[in-house]
């Protein structure tokens, strides 16, 4: 196998900024959909239907999305179309807030998101290869989190000072810098074989490259279960906590909730490159254990701490968990699936586990909160996180590669 030169700084920076702007385009307008449609005199039932359709498509589309990226000749082109699709759907929300158009836009947005996650991981893997991927994924997580933070600030300001509708127009406009950044990544520096998690072989190896072989990989299945538990414990924590804060401190509630969202983002931006490096130095298992421990501790603290200002400090643990898994999900999937040629499909499998865990989380925790109160719900979520910790400790093998 010929040794490829490392990717140029231009491509690396192109990917940085692509991820930064994409965070604005992809997640920026999500929180405004319900409020915007309410101002357009939509009923809560209709809004619920549209949001659920988007959620279901986003869940079912994970594996097909990964398979599309695996089959693609150019990850860049696929990503470009997906960004354009999201831009158009934002425009559709702004211009025609009627049921069929908004439903179509929600479906388009969800499908594009299913493709974009794997496409970014694939471009990263194609650029730097399986040995330097940890560091690159750390950098990805940093820019995604900076992008999310500035998106929340920008969209919040636009929504407050201009109008909810203009949030969607700004999203549409931000698709342009996103596409420019994407075009700065040099196509020829992306090793397309490597991006799919394949190895160029002299003789095709039917056994190693079959999909069935991939889904029989024990570490992948264990990791998918662990991620399901992670999301089951994590997804409902912030919403329930925000509900508690709203009832306790009315005047400062929006500011406190904003702080609870921003603190973890800042931690991710600071820590994720370190996570990427340490994952290579220490191995994957210790990092995963840190991520799950932080989540369990957060659940216990949310159940016991009552001071709303201390709750913001507890969100530091959310940042640790988020930084760990933003890097570790694509990293471990790359470890396990490299050589199979189905890296992105494997990401889709883990993505499906993420979606199932997250949607179950809000339903179950919401039910427990109604019946037994917030503290019991938080302890239950901490228990789920502890189960995930045990799963990693007892069954999950180390997946780090030291040689190609």
């Amino acid at each position: 196998m010929p040794v490829r030169p490392p990717p140029s700084p231009q491509s690396q920076r192109g990917l940085d900024w692509f991820i930064f702007f994409l965070a604005d385009v992809q997640t920026g307008f999500g929180p405004f959909i319900a409020v915007y449609l309410t101002t357009q005199k939509w009923t809560q039932v209709e809004i619920g239907i549209v949001l659920s359709i988007g959620g279901i498509v986003g869940l079912l589309g994970q594996m097909p999305g990964g398979a599309i990226v695996d089959a693609a000749r150019s990850e860049r082109v696929v990503a470009g179309y997906a960004v354009a699709a999201i831009g158009m759907s934002a425009l559709a929300y702004a211009l025609w807030p009627i049921f069929p158009v908004v439903t179509a836009a929600a479906i388009l947005h969800a499908m594009a998101s299913c493709v974009l996650g794997p496409a970014i991981a694939a471009i990263s893997l194609g650029l730097v290869g399986p040995l330097a991927i940890g560091e690159r994924l750390g950098r990805n997580a940093r820019f995604a989190s900076l992008g999310n933070g500035s998106a929340a600030a920008l969209m919040g300001a636009v929504g407050y000072y201009v109008s909810n509708r203009s949030v969607f127009l700004v999203t549409f406009l931000l698709a342009i810098p996103t596409l420019i950044a994407l075009s700065r990544i040099r196509e020829r520096e992306i090793d397309i074989v490597q991006a799919h998690g394949a190895i160029s072989r002299e003789v095709p190896d039917e056994k190693a490259t079959s999909v069935f072989n991939l889904i029989r990989q024990k570490p992948l299945l264990i990791f998918a279960c662990a991620i399901l538990l992670l999301q089951l414990a994590n997804a409902a924590m912030l919403p329930i906590m925000a509900g508690v804060v709203t009832t306790r401190s009315s005047q400062w509630a929006p500011v406190l909730i904003a702080a609870c969202i921003i603190v973890p983002q800042a931690i991710v931006a600071l820590m994720s490159p370190t996570v990427g490096r340490k994952a290579q130095a220490w191995g994957r298992r210790p990092i995963l254990l840190i991520g799950f421990s932080a989540l369990a501790i957060r659940g216990v603290l949310f159940a016991t701490v009552t001071d709303p200002y201390l709750l913001v400090a507890v969100q530091i643990f959310d940042g640790i968990t988020a930084a760990v898994f933003a890097v570790m999900v694509p990293l471990i999937v790359a470890d396990v699936a490299f050589g199979s040629g189905h890296f992105n499909l494997a990401l889709g499998i883990v993505g499906t586990a993420t979606g199932i865990g997250a949607s179950l989380s809000t339903v179950l925790a919401g039910y427990v909160t109604d019946k037994f109160g917030g503290s019991v719900a938080f302890l239950g979520l901490a228990g789920v996180a502890a189960t995930g910790l045990l799963l990693i400790l007892l069954v999950m093998p180390e997946t780090r590669r030291t040689t190609a």
């Binding site: 999500g30 929180p31 405004f32 319900a34 409020v35 309410t38 101002t39 357009q40 005199k41 939509w42 009923t43 809560q44 929340a152 969209m155 919040g156 912030l238 919403p239 925000a242 509900g243 804060v245 709203t246 009832t247 306790r248 401190s249 009315s250 005047q251 509630a253 929006p254 500011v255 909730i257 904003a258 609870c260 969202i261 109604d370």
Partner: protein, 162 residues
């Protein structure tokens, strides 16, 4: 052979059900037609009455912003609650939170709302409650007794049968 029987049986079943449906449809229609016929014999049905309200006197309120007397943002009206007599009892407002996280649907007494400035689309409805009073309210859940938050001193439990 068996398949053919099955198809035949299906066809018969389909035909009878369509027949039955058509029959019920026509009988339903005939009843509906009988009533106006009797009316028409006496005098033609009067046209629907028309009331004209000035554009500045009344307006839809779904999605309208609610503000407190101290001009705090109290959320938006997302639903209106009506009792069995058709009386408007309360409004559901989506209150609090930041970027969609931590907001709750709470119910406020219709009499605690003031609609003085309703004419302009950008005008808000004012609520005689403060953020502190509203923040303690329980979340609105369908099919459960509704807890209505009234203006100070007028909070009374709503009577319900079940």
């Amino acid at each position: 052979m068996r398949a053919r029987w099955l198809v035949a049986a299906l066809a018969v079943a389909l035909a009878t059900s369509i027949g039955a449906w058509a029959q019920s449809e026509t009988s339903g229609r005939s009843i509906a037609q009988d009533v106006p016929k009797q009316d028409a014999a006496k005098d033609p049905k009067p046209p629907a009455s028309v009331t004209v309200i000035g554009a500045r006197d009344a307006h839809g309120i779904l999605g309208r912003e609610v503000r407190s007397a101290a001009d705090e943002n109290m959320g938006r009206i997302v639903d209106v609650i009506v009792d069995r007599d058709g009386m408007v009892r309360a409004a559901v407002i989506d209150f609090g939170g930041f970027l969609g996280v931590g907001s709750r649907k709470i119910v406020v007494d219709w009499r605690a709302l003031r609609f003085g400035a309703i004419a302009n689309k950008s005008d808000s409805i004012s609520l005689e409650l403060t953020k502190d009073q509203v923040s303690k309210a329980p979340e609105y859940k369908e099919d459960q007794p509704v807890i209505v938050l009234g203006a100070a001193g007028s909070l009374q439990p709503w009577e319900f049968d079940h």
